[in-house]
Symmetry: C2
Subunit: 138 residues, 2 copies
Amino acid sequence: MSDLLERLRGRGWRMTAQRRVVAEVLNGEHVHLTADEVHARAVAKLPEISRATVYNTLGELVSLGEVLEVTTDKRAKRYDPNAHRPHHHLVCARCGAIRDVHPTGNPLADLPDAERFGFTVSDVEVTYRGLCPDCADA
Amino acid sequence: MSDLLERLRGRGWRMTAQRRVVAEVLNGEHVHLTADEVHARAVAKLPEISRATVYNTLGELVSLGEVLEVTTDKRAKRYDPNAHRPHHHLVCARCGAIRDVHPTGNPLADLPDAERFGFTVSDVEVTYRGLCPDCADA
DNA sequence: ACTTGACTTAGACAAAGTCCATTGTAGGAT
DNA sequence: ATCCTACAATGGACTTTGTCTAAGTCAAGT
């Protein structure tokens, strides 16, 4: 499981009540919260926490590589704590539900040199779109 | 080439000076402008055009399937007139430059049933990330 | 040329996120 | 245990991106 808090403490991350709460909110699989959702849940545990702090903390967690930013729709960025295992996303086009998925194959190998335009390609992000079981009945 | 304007006229789209200008701005390959960029270029040709009209027109072009919305970064949506040929995107992580690419293989086939969570998967979007030749020298 | 419904406009509004000066505090030093 | 100080948190103003609306304008058919 390797708790997020454990890892952060181990990295000498200065611990405060606010940071602990944010780290607690971001735990588990298939977790993809917006900054505002993180803030809402953090407020439930620590009413004085401010929006700016949540943004700052999320930004730091991303810099540390402990959390990933996901932009599946045009709305708000989402934060995905499942950073230790590479994965892609499956998104419901209707309700926005997100699942982590692990496709076979390596898309990086599927991009011929002639299609790289001199870029140094280092990463691929794959987003599958469709309808979730709930939204398919309509 | 199949000009965008031609196609729109052929579809009985009501033509106005504003719509013509927007359609003219969106022409060519590897074009991925934000709404504001489209507006800026449109204003150069037709100073009275308003932001709302640009947004409306872009929205309609997307509905008509003549232009694609692309959200490569967390910032603004981008508009891609290259809708008649399916493609994916290669994005510079530093400067944001975007190229259209055509990888081999079919990522849809790479998602096992066990990884679909009951979704009806209909589409895949692949975004390659790296550094463009200009940004690689730094 | 007239009419009409669709198109355009300006500006108010909203959502997501950033910035900054001030205040507070974690954790090492004493 | 207490003190210091650099780092963190706060809240409010500000920015960016996008939506909405009421009123004015215009393309296209008759």
